[in-house]
Symmetry: C2
Subunit: 588 residues, 2 copies
């Protein structure tokens, strides 16, 4: 039906007759001539109909925005005065000979070029929204990304193997989506939170290198960057060390950035988890920001001021300074905003010292807290943070958790606000995670219970909270791109971990019996990784929401406003499934 895409036309086509198909992006009359900007997937070209085109001119006169046309015409150079350098096809136009209206269009619910349209309307008429150049480019880019990744993995001997969507409740810890079974009364499938156990079983089967671009599901209350269904680049290998797994997946991401962004990321540095939390207050530090947290607990232990001295003398607490180069320019109003901001993380205040003339000692500083710290301690803090004229130093003194999270978040916020970024892309690996973290009444896995520890089973059981794991997270610009680990391939180690987690033998059999069985029939050493594809695309395209890189996303209440899902189902269906919807309880 066409000979070229609209966007493909350029001077090399001059004098050729072409047939185009596409949408009317804009139509206007000018001096008795009709100009139609015809749009397709590749771009936009101007088509001109003058009255010589007779009945085709009349047809062209009738078309409106978003009509679907087939146009035959001859490509010609635009006059110098009308060349449009902002348009890739702007050197040429098509002199229209014939036009066929393939479909008419009502006025769209919102104008395509209006950038202020609310998301609800965009999602309800997603098929119109997706016509916008930005959305076209993002989904096209997404297709290129999966293609590049698949090619890399295929070239490296990874097999694409599908794992089930209708499966058993998985132990990732989030809430499962359930699917009632019709043939097994009262029983339910769960949609997978990840293919974790299946990919491990594939290693036990000897497939050696597996990948899948897999749909995963979590029934969680949605934050801005979450979706109930999301896509994971899922990878597992046998007989490879953590370093080898990191190396091959790092190559994959490097190739991706090189091919599709023209960016050479270089070797990714490795940073232990402990250092990341200490210096950057985050297990996914944004290394574009040249700010570090500095420990000052020892300096403040002997002062009278309880707000600092209390935490400084409490082993569960942390006292930390964050020096911001050039931060003395931050206004009182801004400091108030930052104080509220760290409040989200539980910080009860945000003390600060501005440095005006450090050569004058405390006289050259400006702060409401110097009198509480005392001159000596103040100057010791200045020295340790290396504060110079024009800087500001912020303080955190509270539980380890509060200080780490609050100052870690403040570091990122200030980095963004003051545009302190030293580079565009800052990838790294965070390694040496703890196996477990303490929760009320016990411990929980920091990653998942199949992660291999770096120590023996005996050491693990003796001091679980001291044990490190063979896990690794790939972090880019403060976002976790992916994470993985070497897995446990030994039944007794797996059971030791279950015991530490308080999972008794009966529950082990009931929930993980098939895994424990598999581990005893010749399981190889194995490990892997999973990348969040949506997040990766979002970062690479600079989109501000994950919903902008998914063709048909759900809203924050996990609904599809386009198709009106979830929807009512009739009672016959529910009867077949042997379930009923509970009537609303009337509260007294």
């Amino acid at each position: 039906m066409r000979t070229q895409y609209c966007g493909a036309l350029n001077a090399s086509f001059i004098d050729q007759e072409v047939t185009l198909c596409g949408w009317v992006d804009r139509r206007r009359d000018h001096g008795g001539v009709i100009f139609i900007d015809l749009r397709d997937r590749d771009g936009i070209v101007q088509v001109v109909f003058d009255p010589d085109a007779k009945e085709n001119f009349e047809t062209a006169d009738k078309v409106r925005s978003e009509y679907v046309l087939q146009v035959k015409g001859r490509v010609r150079a635009r006059s110098e005065a009308t060349v449009n350098p902002n348009m890739p096809t702007g050197e040429v136009e098509v002199y229209g000979l014939e036009v066929t209206i393939l479909n008419s269009a009502e006025t769209t619910p919102f104008p395509l070029h209006d950038k202020t349209v609310g998301e609800e309307v965009r999602l309800k008429y997603r098929y119109v929204d997706l016509r916008r150049q930005e959305m076209q480019e993002r989904l096209r880019f997404r297709s290129k990304v999966t293609n590049s990744i698949r090619n890399f993995l295929d070239d490296n001997g990874f097999l694409d193997i599908e794992t089930p969507i209708l499966t058993r409740a998985t132990p990732e810890g989030a809430r499962d989506y359930l699917v009632p079974s019709r043939t097994h009364e009262g029983k339910f499938f769960a949609l997978p939170q990840s293919p974790q156990l299946f990919k491990q079983l594939l290693m036990v089967s000897g497939f050696d290198r597996y990948y899948q671009i897999a749909k995963c599901f979590r029934d969680e209350d949605l934050r801005a960057d979450r979706q109930p269904e999301f896509t994971q680049i899922d990878i597992e290998t046998s007989f490879m060390s953590d370093e080898q797994i990191m190396s091959v997946t790092e190559q994959m991401i490097r190739k991706l950035f090189s091919e599709l962004k023209g960016v050479e990321l270089g070797e990714f540095p490795r940073m232990p988890y402990a250092e990341a939390m200490q210096k950057y207050g985050s297990d996914k530090p944004d290394m574009r920001i040249p700010l570090e947290l500095v420990e000052i607990k020892d300096l403040l232990a002997d002062i009278d001021f309880k707000v600092f001295a209390g935490p400084a003398n409490d082993p569960k607490c942390r006292v930390t300074a964050l020096k911001v180069t050039g931060g003395a320019a931050i206004s009182r109003k801004q400091i108030d905003d930052y104080t509220k901001y760290v409040g989200i993380y539980g910080a009860k205040g945000l003390a600060w010292i501005k440095v005006n003339e450090i050569e004058k000692g405390v006289e050259g500083l400006q702060s409401p807290i110097i009198k509480f710290l005392g001159d000596d301690v103040t100057m010791q803090v200045m020295e340790r943070t290396g504060a110079q004229n024009g800087d500001i130093v912020f303080f955190g003194a509270d539980t380890i958790k509060v200080v780490t999270e609050a100052l870690g978040a403040l570091r990122c916020k200030i980095g963004e606000d003051l545009e302190l970024y030293t580079c565009e892309w800052a990838p790294l690996w965070v390694v040496d995670f703890p196996m477990f973290e303490a929760i009320e009444g016990g411990v929980t896995s920091l990653h998942h219970p199949f992660t291999a520890p770096s120590c023996s089973a005996q050491e693990l059981e003796q001091n679980p909270l001291a044990a490190l794991s063979q896990a690794y997270d790939m972090v880019l610009n403060g976002c976790e791109l992916g994470g993985g680990s070497v897995r446990i391939h030994n039944q007794s180690m797996q059971q030791a971990v279950f015991r530490v987690l308080g999972i008794g033998e009966e529950e082990q059999r009931e929930k993980f019996g098939f895994l424990l069985d598999a581990l005893q029939y010749g399981a190889p050493p194995h490990g892997g990784l999973a990348f969040g594809l949506d997040r990766l695309i979002m970062l690479m395209t600079g989109a501000s929401s994950i919903r902008d890189v998914i063709a048909f996303p759900k809203t924050q209440t996990a609904a599809c406003v386009l198709t009106d899902a979830p929807g009512q189902v009739d009672n016959t269906q529910l009867r077949e499934l042997n379930i009923r919807v509970k009537k609303k309880e009337v509260s007294a």
Copy 2:
């Protein structure tokens, strides 16, 4: 951890030191020497440990089948007497220097080389079953197929776009799997039976060429070749005619067979649906079989024998002969079996005439029915079917449906039993399907209600059962590989089809409102196709069940015996979802 795959070793490695990882396929002592067949994804190689290897010899002595080992050794040529031509690595062996047991293994639930193991056990211990060479090869082949298909589609400008799994009930007609929504009380998502409407919306969005290797779901009672979740190669294009869509997808399949099977399929013939049903009794004729159904209704209209004369005079009936070349050798016992076989399709019997000496006229024939047909009619039938000495002619006389299905199935059965295949691969396109078929109280879509007719909306509504569609099925060796159609891109045509189907305006809005809306905002002409990936792999690998080309399939009761899914869920989860399981009703 290794330098080579076991299966990669050959004479070019002689004298090299290699490190291998893998499973003990077999271990045996012979003359004080230990022979280990070490297996990995790539193949098997023989490793030899003699007592000179000292403690490594002792370790090697301890290993048992399916132990996981790391072996260091030197590749050496086998002596001429011990070369194993049946093994790709059979020219060499590895002289073992070091061995590490990476994991031990209990005796597997069934021996890997036992081909008689029941499917239930194979599925329960799928991770062991998948170690078998056959299963390894099938899943590896599957990965190659998806890779080849993706490359073809990427090269041809198709974009890989994901559509939702949590969605609205789709109108494909099968039963949906439902997912209760937690955030929208009493409402349910449905898992997609196909991405049909989403891919049409992507065309309305202007993506022009879409593909996805998509999981689809149908909660149906399972036949041997069905699974509750299955995988579809899903394709949709804009501005292409049915012929162009067939052409590009045919190229894709031809390339696939050429690359992965070394088979050149050539151009696929096109056959109208009416001809397929008439001559082959099937809308997916197996063209490897050189047998055709021959109409003889006119010949039998005037005979006295009611069994034939009745149908011959009834416009709802069909009277048909199937000549089988060389079929006179079929025994009475076999004829009885075939009679039972056609009974499955509703045929009340299976008349036949064997041709011994056609030159003697009816004297040269053998049959219980000649006396009922009469000599003249018998010989007319012989003439029309072209029966020769050594042939058999079967008869079908019943409703059109029964005769078509029964003789169509018999044709395939006999083709297989007598090995009549004239070629290995016989692809074709079946085209010109009817839009609708009659059902009690109305009509139903032969494909789906979004299929474009070949006629106007007016003609369609006047005589729905006469209308043909722009649908096409790709058939290979009697299996439907894929099917598709040009879709309706015009709102009023879509509404006409809904009216013919008895879907009133209210139901149209309620179920398909978003599609009808989309069609009025500039929908391009579009169409597409979907291939059943599992079936395709099954045909290409010669597997006898679809379960043999899926890593973790469900059983015929839609259960996973490996993970024991579906499973019980606790009441907290159900409460959150606002549903309850109905108690079993006690029948009186």
